[in-house]
């Protein structure tokens, strides 16, 4: 069965420092890739998605992600985080149909 792995359950980082949140998936065959953000007590919001084309995808709030087919990864990055980036980040992958397979989430903790 296809799966999505977010290895880090929590990532603490100092404000204004860069951050990378890791996402790996089980198969590179024809995937669509998404990153969603969930602020405390709120629903999920799409940050960015990769469907095709350039492997570097830019999203909202200064985030970007790179699709790496050989490593089956789609890591999320931001060069300088702000306290307002405190949230949980979910990687999700779509393979053969509409259904999203979700990672377990990574909590981004910003230290002042």
């Amino acid at each position: 069965a296809q799966s999505v792995t977010q290895l880090d359950s929590q990532v603490p980082v100092f404000e204004e420092a860069p951050v990378e949140l890791r996402c790996n998936y089980s198969s590179s065959v024809s995937v669509y890739l998404f990153w969603y953000v969930q602020y405390p007590n709120q629903g999920l919001q799409l940050l960015l998605k990769y469907l095709s084309g350039s492997t570097l995808v830019k999203g909202i709030n200064g985030f970007e992600a790179e699709f790496n087919k050989s490593q089956t990864s789609f890591h999320l990055r931001k060069p300088s985080v702000h306290i307002s980036d405190t949230a949980e980040y979910f990687c999700a992958v779509s393979w053969s149909n509409y259904q999203l397979i979700w990672g377990a989430g990574t909590k981004l903790i910003i230290k002042p």
């Binding site: 359950s9 669509y32 998404f34 969603y36 007590n41 709120q42 629903g43 999920l44 919001q45 799409l46 998605k49 469907l51 949980e88 979910f90 779509s94 393979w95 053969s96 149909n97 509409y98 259904q99 999203l100 979700w102 990672g103 377990a104 989430g105 909590k107």
Partner: protein
Amino acid sequence: DAMVIQNPRYQVTQFGKPVTLSCSQTLNHNVMYWYQQKSSQAPKLLFHYYDKDFNNEADTPDNFQSRRPNTSFCFLDIRSPGLGDAAMYLCATSRVKGRDDEQFFGPGTRLTVL
């Protein structure tokens, strides 16, 4: 602004007492989804509607039902809530049922079962 609205935001019910959560959308999307999200876990898809076509996930308990009386509204009914059903329930919509289609989420309803 077009959006997905969930009411109530917080719902408290008693063990075994039926409860209904509601979702409405102004996006005019064809697909509406219900997810269950427990603390620090990924959302788990319970079921979805594509127009009036209902699709139940294989592992969704019979205790959970859904209704979609029209395009804009969708309801989640929990017939006999147990303590294990305490969770955040998220409603989402998408324009069509496509692999590349973004899902738009409501703010969620946090259900507490006493």
